[in-house]
Amino acid sequence: MTFTEAKRYYVERRIWERMAATGATSFADYFARLRTDMQDEIQQFVNAFTINETYFYREDYQLKCLTNDLMMERVRDKRAGDTIRIWSAACSTGEEPYSIAIWLLENWPSVDEYAIEIVASDIDTRVLELARAGTFGQRALMRLSPELIGRYFAALSGERWQINPQLRDSVSFTAVNLVDPGQTWPHGRFDVVFCRNVLIYFDDASRRVAAENLYENLLPGGFICLGHTESMSRISSLFEVRRFADAIVYQRPERKPS
């Protein structure tokens, strides 16, 4: 793993989090704990950099944008009953694709008018297993109302919740490396792709390749949502910037640029 200067804040934040978790009084104190591997701190430290902390309804302004604008645009040239395909391209442990499903069920009045297909992928097969298992802790559900939790989850013991099996089965999980067109292309073209907070971890070359692959996986006029700190304009000129009330998203132009 390499971190450039641009990732400094990300690195610092993770270290601060570990300092807080271990009760270290200073960086020197924390560093001493790390060097002596006190209470398995090396593993904890590595996990802090590799395990993505995520939760339901994260960056929900994009979900608002999805139902307020993107879906309306995508169905304009569709007939009722047609398929709408959504791809959660770096789904980690499943919070994002399940959030998309719940958000649509709760906020898009036409949810039963179209056949919505949600594909969720990640490069990491371990997180995909967790996503398919669909059990979540309190932290992951902190943004959901008790009403929504009651509607879509069953309480397990130890402050864990299990997503409804029917909701789980409405999302197809699959392993995909975004940099490999042989892995992205077979999934076909989508109306909307969510690829949030993943390209930031790629180097420039991989980021460009991933952006080109994602472009190929979009229907003409299809949208891609990145994380709020990310900008496609700095990565690729293939996309058009679309500024909606709730979010800025990127669009594959309807026609190829001449």
């Binding site: 007939r79 009722a80 009953g81 499903a101 649509l104 069920l105 009045p109 036409s110 949810v111 039963d112 008018e113 179209y114 056949a115 919505i116 949600i118 509607r151 879509y152 409804n164 029917q166 909701l167 089965d169 409405s170």
Partner: protein, 128 residues
């Protein structure tokens, strides 16, 4: 019909639609079973006691109208189970075809929460 909560079989090929209807109907006090097409629905009816069908029209393997025609031709109590057809087809001809196939009621998608519960209660003879 048995006492206790009424059971509704939702027949729709779109997974998210089944989740949507299930959440609405369960909150209104119904039990919900699911089938992905007409063929699965016929199988489910032989195995489970069902009080109401909520049936989509366009489905693979066996569409909703074929399913209803086959069901209504049966010479057993299954033939009388009420059916609420939900469809994206809003033309008068589609409505007429559904009624001819044996639909008791026809709702054009999108179906709202209150609307679904209201008609499910009515067709099941349940008061709110």
């Amino acid at each position: 019909m048995s006492a206790g909560p009424k059971t509704i079989l939702v027949v729709d090929d779109a997974a998210l639609v089944r989740v949507y209807y299930r959440a609405i109907l369960e909150e209104a006090g119904f039990r919900v079973e699911e089938a992905l097409n007409g063929l699965e629905a016929l199988e489910a009816l032989l195995a489970k006691e069902v009080d109401l069908l909520v049936v989509d029209i366009n489905m693979p393997q066996m569409d909703g109208l074929t399913f209803l025609r086959i069901l209504r031709e049966r010479e057993d109590p299954l033939a009388a189970i009420p059916a609420l057809v939900t469809s994206t087809e809003s033309a008068q001809a589609d409505f007429a075809a559904a009624c001819a196939a044996g639909a008791n009621f026809y709702l054009v998608k999108p179906v709202g929460r209150e609307q679904l519960v209201e008609f499910a209660r009515m067709l099941c003879g349940v008061s709110p």
